[in-house]
Amino acid sequence: MFDFLGLVHNESIKIYARIRTWIMLGVLGLVALLMPVLFSFVGEDMGMWNSLNTLLQFWFLPTVFAVAVAADTVAGEFSRGTIKLLLIRPWSRIKILLSKYVAVLLFMIALYVMLTVLGMVMSALLFGTPADPDGLSGQLTLSLSEFFWWSLLYRLIDCLIYVTMAFMFSSIFRSNSLSVALTIILLFMGSLITLLVDPSKYAIGRYLLFANMDLSQYIVSSTGSYGGMSLGFSLAVLAVYYVVFLALTFWVFKKRDVAA
């Protein structure tokens, strides 16, 4: 186990030794620090939780950044040719790939922690910490703070799926740009696909990946945006996709002849 952490350490070095990573972290840090300032100029005193919930508009950023890193982690080794020196160590391919996946997930979590902590600190400084969380928000039965934490969790799950998808593309196509492009296209096209195969009209649409992404739909309605679904159903569908993605990723990586 200790040795495996060495592999994760190696992979993390490959992520953090690159300027690209620090540009991403810098952009994210600026968003977390400056957006609450902007909110305080534009609106009146919106309160800390409202500020954080508005900041949720920018949660696509950690997803895009984590996807970029996930897409590079396998494909980059192939395009640089370093995969050959990596795979001739006394480690099975499965363990090497797993260490990469773990390092990518740790990076994803780091992005989330950074955005949350900086956003909270900044919002609290500007708007003060409400002793009593703000009252209910509109028709929702959740307080603003509860709404924020649940949204955060759901976005983390979304992000996990996208990152795993990018990781899969990276392993299958061994092309960094193709993996990023495919994932980002799917990220923005997902809603279009669910529009075509509308789950509220066709039952099969309910099993589409994108109908089940964005679990925050269940904050508004327990049957989801399309009706006839539930949080448990969506979690089960996502879990199946997740397992299939990972199985495919590892299987392809294990079987592949390396001729880079």
Partner: protein
Amino acid sequence: MEIISDKMPVPGSKSKITGEPVVRFDNVVKQIGRKTIIEGLTLDVPPGQVFGFLGPNGSGKTTTIRMMTGLMAPSSGDIVIDGRSITQDFEQAISQVGAIVENPEMYSYLSGYRNLKQYARMRSDVTKERIDEVVQFTGLDRRIHDKVSTYSLGMRQRLGVAQAILHRPKLLILDEPTNGLDPQGIRELRDYLRELTRKEGTTVFVSSHLLSEMELMCDTVAIIQAGKLIDVRELHGEADIHATLETIFDVGERIEEALTLLGGGEIRNGQLVVRTNREGIAEINTRFIQAGIPVYGIRPLTRTLEDQFLEMTGGGGIV
């Protein structure tokens, strides 16, 4: 030229092998799509040697090395390294191997030292002292903390060697190791490989298409063409005084007369060639002189490995 089938034992080499072969190719076949890249390679690599793997471009050298290092799976057959199958028991088999496959590609955004640390972290037996020792040895000490992106090709090659020997492997596999090295570097590498085999008993498996280099570097050379092993021969064999050699006798104009007198030998390219041993040469010389045939010169008909190689592979040989 005696062509040795890959199924037959290799004359001359078996007798000197002591101990189990470090690498054993057992009827290895590799097909990619419909194309057969390697056709039934059976070969033993004896321990403690610099073993050359020679062949023209496209003959399957790199494919063979990729299979030895587990980067590719053989379509059939098996490769056994130090008694362990690379396909069945990969982690154990590969732990005895250090290799450079094609070019030594490194993480260019890391320093040379941090690259070596990457590989050191993947094993339990590489200490910091060992890294320093290897850095010193490969002559990279002044630049080791610079980013690899600033390295010349020769320096990258040295770093490649450094990562390959870091864990003192029993088998060192080098794919075209002299690419990008200057003459000084090639000489150093050659001396180093000799030292490794002598002092640490490492077996070195080197591929190359450069014959002259192989002659200087290797104890044994296997020659491969179009995915088939066509010959295995020992170099640097000690000159055997009983060996029969083809010898050229320069007798000027009286070549036919000399041939009749001997009742043997042949005329090749206008020269009298006799196959005989050391004693025989002296005897023939005496007979010519007694018959009044002047002998202007006697020299062994040695052919360089290059001549032999070209002859075997039919000159061109890119398939």
